[in-house]
Structures are given as structure tokens and as C-alpha cells.
Symmetry: C3
Subunit: 208 residues, 3 copies
């Protein structure tokens, strides 16, 4: 089941990558590369840091083919249909939900403490997008104080998953509860524009 959840994450992240690449007017190879980075970046970082080999997209090698086909279709379309464009926040939220819980689960299985596992959930869920933003030369969404809750939702859902697991709830329920928490809280944050306040800046005199 975990690999099915991961597949859903790959698909939604790849679609987000295609969108981001088109918005930056990349050519086909750029679209393809960025889709790979967004879809595989977070999970690769997780696997490398947990010493899990082969990497998840080498083990399930149809993942790469799926991303390839999605990038091909996404590049060929002259224009994205309007409903897809407007509905894209949904796969984005789903991607973060799926990847976060799979990441926390893998970390737990590798023997980390729950707190470290929750960090791995956030890394897996958000860093594909962070690396994508860095490559496009913009400050990642994750760090912009003007955006609705993002990594916070991932952190929250990971703890729902972890606490239910500690309470002895069966795994399918904990997995889906965590994922749902992330997706629902992210959609709510987007809908009602929920944010954390920015921390006040320092005077610029200490500029190393």
C-alpha cells in the first residue's frame, strides 16, 4: 500500500513540476528535468539520508517512465485546460500529503525517534518543491512569509500519524488519517488564507 501512496505522490508532484516549468517557459527537456526533480527530489533526499538503497525510483522503475510520459503530454499541450489550471492546488496538496506520511513511515522503520521521523516526513513532503524553486531561482514557497501554511500542514499530519500509531491504531487508519490531515489543512489554509505571522526582521547593521 505504501508504494501505491508513493505512486500517487509521484503523479501529483510531476504534474506540479510540469506546471512550474511551463510557467517559466522552459523547453521540453527543461520540463522533463524539473518534473523529475520535483517528483523524486524529496524521496531521494530521504532515501540517501536513511541509507535506503536502491532509491525508490530505481526500485520502482516505472515511476520514471510515468513522469516521462506526463512531461511529454504536458509539453505537447498548447494550452492547459482551464479547469486543470484552477484545480492544480489539489494535486499539489495531495502530493505533499502522500509523500510526508510515506517519509515519516520509512524513517520510523529505519529506527529513528518519532521527532526525527516527523522531520523526515516534512523533508520528503516539501523538499522536491523547495529544490524546484531553488533551481528556478526564486525563494522557495516554504520560506515566504506571505504564503498560506505549507510545511506546517505536513508537520501536523505527521504527528497525527505518529500519535495514532503510538496509541496502537492499525496502520491503514493511521496512514490515511495523517494524509487526510495534511491535505485538508492545506486546502483550508489556501481557502481562508491562513498564515503564521512573520518574525520581526533585524536592523540591517549586522550584515556580515
Amino acid at each position: 500500500m505504501l508504494s501505491a501512496i508513493e505512486l500517487l505522490g509521484v503523479i501529483s508532484s510531476a504534474i506540479y513540476g510540469v506546471l512550474l516549468a511551463r510557467r517559466n517557459h522552459f523547453d521540453f527537456v527543461g520540463v522533463l528535468t524539473l518534473s523529475f526533480i520535483v517528483a523524486f527530489g524529496g524521496g531521494t533526499l530521504r532515501d540517501v539520508m536513511l541509507d535506503r538503497h536502491p532509491l525508490f525510483w530505481i526500485q520502482y522503475d516505472h515511476f520514471a517512465l510515468i513522469v516521462f510520459v506526463l512531461a511529454l503530454i504536458g509539453s505537447a499541450l498548447k494550452r492547459w485546460p482551464n479547469w486543470l489550471e484552477k484545480g492544480l492546488f489539489l494535486p499539489d496538496a495531495l502530493g505533499m500529503g502522500f509523500f510526508s506520511i510515506v517519509g515519516a513511515n520509512h524513517a520510523l522503520n529505519a529506527g529513528t525517534t518519532p521527532f526525527v521521523a516527523s522531520l523526515f516526513g516534512v523533508i520528503t513532503g516539501t523538499f522536491g518543491g523547495v529544490i524546484g524553486d531553488v533551481v528556478c531561482n526564486q525563494v522557495p514557497n516554504l520560506f515566504r512569509p506571505t504564503t498560506p501554511l505549507y510545511a506546517t500542514c505536513s508537520f501536523l499530519g505527521c504527528w497525527v500519524y505518529l500519535l495514532l500509531g503510538m496509541a496502537g491504531v492499525a496502520e491503514p487508519i493511521t496512514l490515511w488519517s495523517g494524509t487526510l490531515t495534511i491535505v485538508v489543512s492545506r486546502l483550508a489554509a489556501l481557502r481562508w488564507n491562513l498564515r503564521l505571522p512573520p518574525t520581526s526582521g533585524l536592523p540591517s547593521q549586522w550584515t556580515s
Copy 2:
């Protein structure tokens, strides 16, 4: 022979790194660091993702010394000779050619599918430059729609190498055919300014 090809890749990439650093007016330590990043970045990512240890530049530790000396010479020169400046696209293309084929070869030996091996070729051949560009705070060449074919040449050459190998051709021939394809197609792309069309951008209304 593979390690000889890798050595050629290291030398050409290091020279490219020195050039990039000088163009950004770095001091000596900046030149040195950027040369290391460009020369070792792609191969390090490949080795870490394939769980190959020790890393290639730890195993062949004279590689680091060579880069060090190149950076030292490159920083000491007041001006680059004109012919070197104008001929630098050649080592750049050679570097991508050498690294791509070595990367695809290592991935195959690690048991990946040919498609995944071709991705490793592209990663090894191009990501040193990508990381270098990111560090210099510019959108990597790889993603700019206005540049001549780049990663495409690497992808093409990897498939020439892989398909010849499947057809039973001897390894020295497949290795050099793949490398030559990359170098020649890259030089042709630069000479006749071959590019892929940019994918059309999305309207900016969906700006998360």
C-alpha cells in the same frame, strides 16, 4: 579506461568552473570551491544515489590535486589568452560527453534499467554545471529556453551508448560512440544555434 575518461571530464569541467568563477569576480578560494563543485558535483550525486563508496574523487585522490592546481593557475593568470577564452566551449562539451557516458555505465553496472541508466548519464553529465549555476544565483543553463541544446545532447548520446551495447557491440566502441555523439551534437547545436521551442507559459493567475 573509464577512469581515464573520467579524468578528462574532471579536467575540462574544472577549467569551466574556473572560467565561471572568474566571470563572477570570485577570489581564489571562491574559484577553487566552484571548480570543485563543477568538477565533482555530478559524479558525487551519481555515486551517492548509486551507493558507490568511496566516492570517485576520494578513490582517485589525485583528481582533487589536479583541480587544485588548475584553480591555482587559473586564478594567478591576469588575463586568459584569447584563444583559450574562445575555445572554451570545447572542453565544456567534452566534459559533458565524458561524464555522461561514465555515469550511464556505472548505473548499468549497478543493475538499473537502461532508461534509468540514461537518466544517470544526464545527471552525471550536467548537474555539476547546474549546481555551479545555482550557487552563482542564476537560472541554470539547462533550464533556459534560449540556449542551444544541452541536456538533450547528453540524453541522445547515452541512448547511442545503450543501444549499441544491447546490440552486442564491444565496450570501447560503445563508450566512444556515445561520447562522440554528445560532443558532436553539442558543438553542432552551438554552431547552428539549435534549440527546442519553449513550452507556452501559463497565465499568471495561478500564482500560489
Copy 3:
């Protein structure tokens, strides 16, 4: 003792990360994430490249809790006290000193040559800050020709540590001599604005 030195490095780097995040007006989650990146980035890169598992912050899992608490306090403060603001170059220099020597030591123990070990020292000591700067979309300090000596101090201190070790001096002395060299030379560079000259730039005609 090494893990005590590493702890000091984590604390000073986390404080530097909090400061950098506040200067960029991040919200709490951004402060937290950036602190983790700055405090764990260099050591994670080192551990992954040397194949040391579990990573140092998974093995010593109280490190992550300490960073979490520091980020929490740092975000809650309305204003930083003036003396802290002005004295922050000190923990920054300390962080680089602690991490560099620990990194060089781990590399030596993994069987690298002294030269490669000195590179690992520089990577461990400086790359947390580099990744932090990249994420904030600015050219890393390390590469700016207008800043006082930075990576140079790390390189210098690593060689003091390595040469004393080769000369047969006892480890506690070599460790602290190296660390002190880095901290003192960095403070001196800041105090008297010591820099390396920028290498002259190339004419822009060779813009690939």
C-alpha cells in the same frame, strides 16, 4: 569529546540560522527549517559522502530538539537584545571552527588522504551556511569577493590540525589548536577586513 565539539557547532550554527531567517522575515516554520538546514547541512553532506550512517543528527537525536527549542525562542522574541545582535559573529566563527575540525577528523578516520580530509573540513564547516544562502536566493558569502576571509580560515585551521597530527601531537591538542586557528583567524579577518583580491573578470563575449 568530538560529539561535544559538534554540539557546540550545532548550537552556534542554529543561532546563526535563526538570525538569517529573521532578517528575511520568515515565519516560525521558515525559521525552524532554515535553522535545521544551517545546523545540519554541512554535517549531513559529510556523512552522506563518507557513507556514515546513521547521520550524526539521527544518532544524537537530542541535537534536533535543541535546534527546535532555539528556533522557538528565537521566533518568540519580539526583538533581539542589542548585545546578542552585535556579538553574533562570534558563534558564527565558533560554528565554522567546531564543524571544520570534526569534519576533517571524520574524513581521516574514514581513510582519506590528508588533502581530501582538509576539503571535508571546509565542506562541513561552510556548506550549512552556503545551502542557507542559496535557499534565501543570494550568492553565498563564501563566493562574494567583497567579504573578509571565510573558507580560507577553515582551510588553514584544518591544515594546522592535520600537520600537528602528523607530527605526533596528542589529539586533544591538535583538535583545539585547529579550532582556535579558525576562530582567531576569522575574527581577525572580520576585525581588520582581510580579504583575497578578486580574480579579474573575463569580457562577457563568451556567454554561452
